[in-house]
C-alpha cells in the first residue's frame, strides 16, 4: 500500500454555469475512513466523481503522492469504486464479473482469484455461478465490493453504499469499512446515513459546495455526536 495521502487543493466544479463545488481543500489519509456528509445537492457525489477521475474539476487540483490524479492518470488503476448502483454485468455470473474486471486490471489468474474474493464478501460457492441479475440488493452490493477489491486498490471510494441495504447488510458494510481501514487503504465514504458514517475517523461536511467542517478524530466520532454535529453544520 502507498502511504501517500490524497490531497485536494482549491478544487471547484461548475456545471452549466452552476457552481457545485468551490474552494475545496481536503486531504484523505491512508488507513483512515473519511465520511463526506451533507444535504442533497451539497456536492458530495461530484467530489467523489473527481476523486474517481471520472469528473474533471473546473478549478484546483488533486494530488496523490507526487502525481496529479486526473483523467487518463495511471493512478486510476489503484482506485476502487463502489456506487449505489453495483456497476456489474447482470448477465454474467458473480465469478465472471470478478474475473472480467481482474482481466481488465491485469490481475493474474482473475478466475482463480474470484472464489476467494467472493467468499470474503459473503458470496460463497453457491452464488458464484449464479447470474448477477438474480441477486438481491444486498448481494449485489457485496459483489460490487468484490469487483472493486479485485485489483487490491489503495484508494477505495463508496457512494451511498448503504442505500437500500437491510440492517444486516448495513452492519456488514460497517465491518467491511473497518476491515479496509485495517488493511491500510484510504477509504472515502459519501453517505446520508449517519450510522454508516459513525465508523469514520475523519468527517467532512459539505454545504452548498463548500467544506464547512473537516476534522479527524482517531477512534471515531460516535453516532450521537455525529448527528449533533451534522445538524449544527447544515442548519439554515
Amino acid at each position: 500500500m502507498t502511504a501517500a495521502p490524497v490531497v485536494l487543493a482549491k478544487v471547484g466544479k461548475v456545471y452549466g454555469g452552476r457552481r457545485v463545488l468551490a474552494d475545496v481543500n481536503v486531504s484523505f489519509q491512508p488507513a483512515r475512513v473519511a465520511a463526506v456528509l451533507g444535504p442533497n445537492g451539497a456536492g458530495k457525489t461530484t467530489l467523489l466523481g473527481i476523486l474517481s477521475t471520472l469528473v474533471t474539476p473546473s478549478a484546483g487540483s488533486v494530488r496523490w503522492g507526487d502525481q496529479t490524479l486526473g483523467r487518463g492518470s495511471p493512478l486510476r488503476a489503484r482506485i476502487g469504486y463502489v456506487g449505489h448502483e453495483p456497476g456489474i454485468y447482470g448477465d454474467l455470473t458473480a465469478g465472471e464479473n470478478v474475473a472480467l474486471f481482474a482481466g481488465l486490471y491485469g490481475v493474474g489468474d482473475g478466475a482463480g482469484r474470484a472464489p476467494a474474493l467472493l467468499a470474503r464478501v459473503g458470496l460463497g460457492e453457491a452464488r458464484a455461478d449464479a447470474a448477477a441479475r438474480t441477486f438481491s440488493r444486498g448481494m449485489l452490493q457485496r459483489l460490487a465490493l468484490a469487483r472493486a477489491l479485485v485489483h487490491d486498490p489503495t484508494l477505495l471510494l463508496f457512494d451511498e453504499p448503504a442505500a437500500a441495504l437491510d440492517p444486516a447488510g448495513a452492519a456488514w458494510l460497517t465491518r467491511e469499512l473497518a476491515a479496509e481501514r485495517a488493511a491500510g487503504r484510504t477509504v472515502v465514504l459519501v453517505t446520508h446515513d449517519l450510522a454508516a458514517a459513525a465508523v469514520a475517523d475523519q468527517v467532512v461536511i459539505l454545504r452548498r459546495g463548500r467544506v464547512v467542517f473537516d476534522e479527524t478524530r482517531p477512534g471515531g466520532f460516535g453516532a450521537d455526536a455525529l448527528r449533533a454535529l451534522y445538524e449544527e453544520k447544515t442548519r439554515g
Partner: protein, 235 residues
C-alpha cells in the same frame, strides 16, 4: 497492489468484445432479433419484387441486402450499450485502466461480429429467394459487406454511446445515424450490384466502391476513437 499490470490495448479491446459476445452467446436475444428482422425485410421485398419466378435485377437484390443490413444493424446498435447502462456497469468499465479507445473498439468489434453473422444468413437467403448466385464472387461480396459493417458499426457505436442515457434513444439513433451512413449504403449497394450482375459484372467498378469503403472505414473508425473519449466522460 495485486500482481500484474494492465494488459495491452488490443488485449483490452478483445476482452471487452469477448465479454459482449459471451453474454450474447448465452442469451442470443440481440442476434435473434437482428436475424429475424433481417429475414422479414428480405421476405417482404421478395414478395414485392419477385414476379412469377423471374429473377429481379442485380441492383434490386443488392439494395435489399443493404437495406436489411441497415435495419438489423440498427437493432444491434440500439442494444450495444444496454448492458453497460444496466446497473451502471459503464462506470466500472470507465474506471478500469482500459483506454477509452479500447472500450470503443471492443464494442465495435462485438457489434460488427453480430452483424456479420446476421448478414451471412441473409445473403444465403437472398441467394435462394432471388435465384442469385454469390458463389463466384463470394469473397468480393463478403469484403464489401464486411467493410460496410465496420463503417456502420463504427459510426453507430459512437451514437449509441452518446445516447446511453437519452430518452427515446432508439428513434434518435436512427435519426442521427442514417444520414451519416448514406455513403456506406450507396457504395455497398452499388458495388454489390456490379459484382452480382449475371450478364455484365463490373469488377473495376466494384473495386472502386471497395476502396471507397476502406477510406470511409478509416475515417469513421478514426473519428469514432477520437469522439468516444469526450462522449464517455461523465461530466
Amino acid at each position: 497492489m495485486a500482481e500484474g499490470r494492465p494488459p495491452g490495448f488490443l488485449a483490452q479491446a478483445l476482452r471487452i468484445a469477448g465479454k459482449d459476445l459471451a453474454i450474447e452467446w448465452r442469451s442470443r436475444e440481440v442476434l435473434a432479433t437482428m436475424t429475424f428482422l433481417a429475414i422479414v425485410v428480405v421476405l417482404i421485398f421478395s414478395f414485392a419484387f419477385v414476379v412469377e419466378g423471374a429473377r429481379p435485377p442485380a441492383a434490386v437484390v443488392s439494395g435489399i441486402l443493404w437495406i436489411a443490413l441497415v435495419v438489423s444493424g440498427t437493432v444491434g446498435l440500439a442494444r450495444a450499450f444496454d448492458r453497460e447502462r444496466e446497473g451502471e456497469a459503464i462506470r466500472s468499465l470507465l474506471l478500469s485502466p482500459a483506454p477509452r479507445a479500447a472500450i470503443y473498439l471492443g464494442k465495435l468489434a462485438a457489434t460488427a461480429a453480430l452483424m456479420a453473422i446476421t448478414q451471412t444468413v441473409l445473403t444465403g437467403l437472398a441467394g435462394v429467394l432471388f435465384s442469385t448466385s454469390f458463389a463466384a464472387v463470394a469473397g468480393r461480396v463478403a469484403l464489401l459487406l464486411g467493410l460496410g459493417i465496420i463503417g456502420f458499426a463504427a459510426a453507430g457505436c459512437v451514437f449509441s454511446a452518446a445516447l446511453l442515457r437519452a430518452r427515446g434513444r432508439d428513434a434518435l439513433l436512427a435519426t442521427l445515424l442514417y444520414p451519416i451512413i448514406v455513403p456506406i449504403v450507396i457504395a455497398g449497394a452499388r458495388g454489390t450490384s456490379q459484382l452480382i450482375d449475371p450478364i455484365a459484372p463490373d469488377f473495376d467498378g466494384a473495386r472502386f466502391w471497395t476502396q471507397f469503403l476502406v477510406a470511409v472505414d478509416v475515417l469513421f473508425v478514426t473519428a469514432g476513437v477520437w469522439a468516444f473519449e469526450p462522449i464517455a466522460a461523465s461530466d
